[in-house]
């Protein structure tokens, strides 16, 4: 019982360290280089900001999806829940004329509530996450249409609301970095989510549930309560996405949102998070989301015909993940 040779071994690392391998990062760089060579319109600062801005909403949704996927679950409702929170903001600000912070916080809380409800379906009613969130996706979509009377709600009475996404605090301070606020929000939220996942008990249990839920339960972890908390956290991030979306469009569009779940999940998986749960990083997800928006933007800049854009997108998604798996060998 003497030979525990821990001393000669490499330094201990965080179990979330997979992110340090910068999943899919090489593919992202390769894409950016390729498009830059192909088009000078691609490599402008404006266009880079466009790409970042285009990543903000889907990136936030992908962060939300990452949290749920690490638990071994899935959230199909991210898209329509986002819309629902945007509608919530619209009702609070435009219909009830409340101040902007109230609308923003209301939307985020509503997002957390939708997550909590999904979490309750999953834990208390033992409904598989796929079904519970599919149901939520439809219920929230329908409710958005019903509440708005199928018409968009505009934020014209809340001047300044659009600055939440479109303004640039950073640009005001440092004119060389005209990063739109929407992008800033994405990065701040992503950093916060990464912190929670890696440094807090909630995050630890997120990985533990995905890795072996039964083992966590038998370790005395109150699995149901934590899972609901995790879904609520993810829902809050979805709510932030809803606010940014509404600010970008200066409106809450009730019919929007379905289909986004697939894009968000795709970004997560391209970023190296396993749908089986237990592993995954926010950094990977950001890179995955960026791959998707660089690709979309680049193909458009190159004026590729829409149907060929679809084909190319499919091919690049497969190629990016393949390249990444080769590199990891």
């Amino acid at each position: 019982m003497s030979s525990a040779n821990t001393a000669e071994k490499p330094k201990s690392k965080d179990f979330s360290g997979a992110g340090q391998k910068l999943l899919a990062f090489a593919s992202l760089i390769a894409l950016i280089v390729a498009f830059s060579l192909l088009s000078e319109n691609f490599r402008t600062v404006t266009n880079m900001m466009n790409i970042l801005q285009a990543t903000s909403v889907i990136g936030l949704l992908a962060v939300s999806a990452t949290i749920v996927i690490i638990t071994g679950g899935i959230d199909l409702s991210v898209g329509t829940a986002m819309t629902f929170t945007a509608v919530t903001a619209g009702m609070l600000l435009t219909w009830l004329h409340l101040p902007i912070p109230v609308g923003v916080i209301g939307a985020i809380l509503m997002g957390a509530l939708t997550g909590l409800v999904s979490g309750a379906f999953i834990t208390k009613m033992r409904i598989p996450p796929f079904i519970a969130t599919l149901g939520m996706m439809l219920v929230l979509k329908g409710l958005s249409l019903i509440l708005t009377g199928t018409k968009p709600i505009y934020f014209n009475d809340s001047p300044g609301f659009t600055d939440i996404a479109q303004g640039s605090i950073l640009g005001a301070l440092l004119p060389a970095f005209p990063v739109p606020n929407g992008v800033l929000i994405l990065f701040v939220v992503a950093a916060g989510a990464a912190y929670i996942l890696n440094r807090t008990v909630l995050g630890r249990y997120t990985y533990a549930l995905g890795s072996n839920e039964e083992a966590a339960r038998l370790s005395g972890v109150n699995v149901d309560a934590w899972k609901m908390a995790i879904y609520a956290l993810a829902g809050a991030v979805t709510g932030i996405a809803g606010v940014v979306l509404a600010a970008r469009l200066n409106s809450a569009q009730p019919a929007l949102g379905q289909g986004y779940e697939l894009e968000a999940i795709a970004a997560v998986v391209i970023g190296g998070t396993s749908l089986a749960g237990g592993r995954g990083t926010i950094l990977g997800t950001l890179i995955g989301a960026l791959i998707m928006s660089v690709m979309t933007n680049g193909l458009r800049i190159l004026s590729v015909a829409p149907e060929w854009q679809i084909v190319a997108t499919g091919a690049i998604i497969i190629g990016a993940v393949y390249a990444d798996s080769l590199r990891k060998k």
Partner: protein
């Protein structure tokens, strides 16, 4: 160096949008400009369209054609275009703003009202009818549905609209809807679909169910033309998408060159049925 004019449309997969593209390509060849044509997958994707408009602006175009899914949401970008001196031509439906130098469109409301009038004629002014809308929230979806419904309500008290279903423009779903409508309302007299996908589905659904109802379609395409010729479909409304595309590019070229353009270009709509389907002025606005 050719002038570059991107057209940001509401879609590209439907025949209607392909016909717009055809007209745009025709004008592009005629005026020697380069035109690209793209649009989101569904008319709900306001944000995707905004993304497309953003990208189009960063390609330094000579002018832009834009069919707004939500005109208010696009205003900051349109302002940006205006500030950069890029003229915008609106097509298909208007934009609530004076930024576009020209608008090439027709009234969807008036077009559907015509469909309602024809429906009333064909079913003798009374009975139950139903609508298969292609969308519940997009401008075209709302305008075409409301145009039909309001005309019936206003001028044809004997007609009852029993259902407005949403088929999403999906041929198969619309077929199931048509069959269900017939099952739910055995005494249904007429059905109206608000776009090509809905109309194809309606034709197939009625064919499978074997019912006898007056069906009226919207837009063109081979399926509807065949159905009209065979008598299955009573008739349909078509707009002039080729004309819309052509006029949009024509106006954009003129604006880019600093020439004066007409503020509103009405491209018109037409009722067609078995009696006039082969007439030259109708055949010209139909497409497969």
């Amino acid at each position: 160096e050719k002038l570059y004019i991107p057209l940001i449309s509401k879609g590209f997969q439907h025949q209607f949008w392909q016909a717009v593209k055809l007209g745009a390509d025709k004008a592009a060849a005629e005026f020697g400009v380069e035109v690209t044509f793209e649009g989101p997958e569904t008319e709900a994707q306001v944000d995707k369209q905004i993304e497309m408009l953003t990208t189009a602006l960063s390609k330094n175009p000579a002018a832009i054609g834009f069919a707004a899914l939500d005109s208010q949401a696009a205003i900051p970008l349109l302002q940006q275009a205006k500030d950069a001196g890029i003229p915008v031509v609106a097509f298909d439906s208007g934009v609530d703003s004076d930024i576009p130098v020209s608008t090439a469109s027709t009234s969807n409301v008036a077009a559907s009202a015509l469909a309602a009038t024809k429906m009333a004629e064909l079913i003798g002014g009374e009975g139950k009818v139903a609508v298969i809308a292609h969308d519940q929230t997009s401008r075209t979806g709302i305008d075409r549905t409301e145009g039909f419904v309001n005309e019936i309500k206003a001028n044809h008290p004997g007609i009852e609209i029993v259902a407005v279903e949403v088929g999403g423009g999906d041929q198969l779903k619309s077929a199931e809807i048509a069959k269900t409508l017939l099952a739910a309302n055995p005494d249904l007299k007429g059905m109206f679909a608000t776009n090509e996908g809905g109309a194809i589905g309606m034709v197939n659904g009625v064919q499978e169910a074997g019912g006898k109802v007056v069906i009226i379609g919207f837009d063109s395409g081979k399926a509807q033309k065949d159905a009209i010729k065979s008598g299955l479909m009573a008739g349909a409304i078509t707009q002039n998408p080729v004309g819309i595309g052509y006029e949009t590019v024509k106006a954009a070229v003129a604006a880019a060159k600093g020439e004066a353009v007409e503020k509103n270009i009405d491209t018109g709509f037409y009722w067609y049925d078995s009696t006039n389907i082969d007439a030259p002025e109708i055949a010209a606005v139909l497409y497969d």
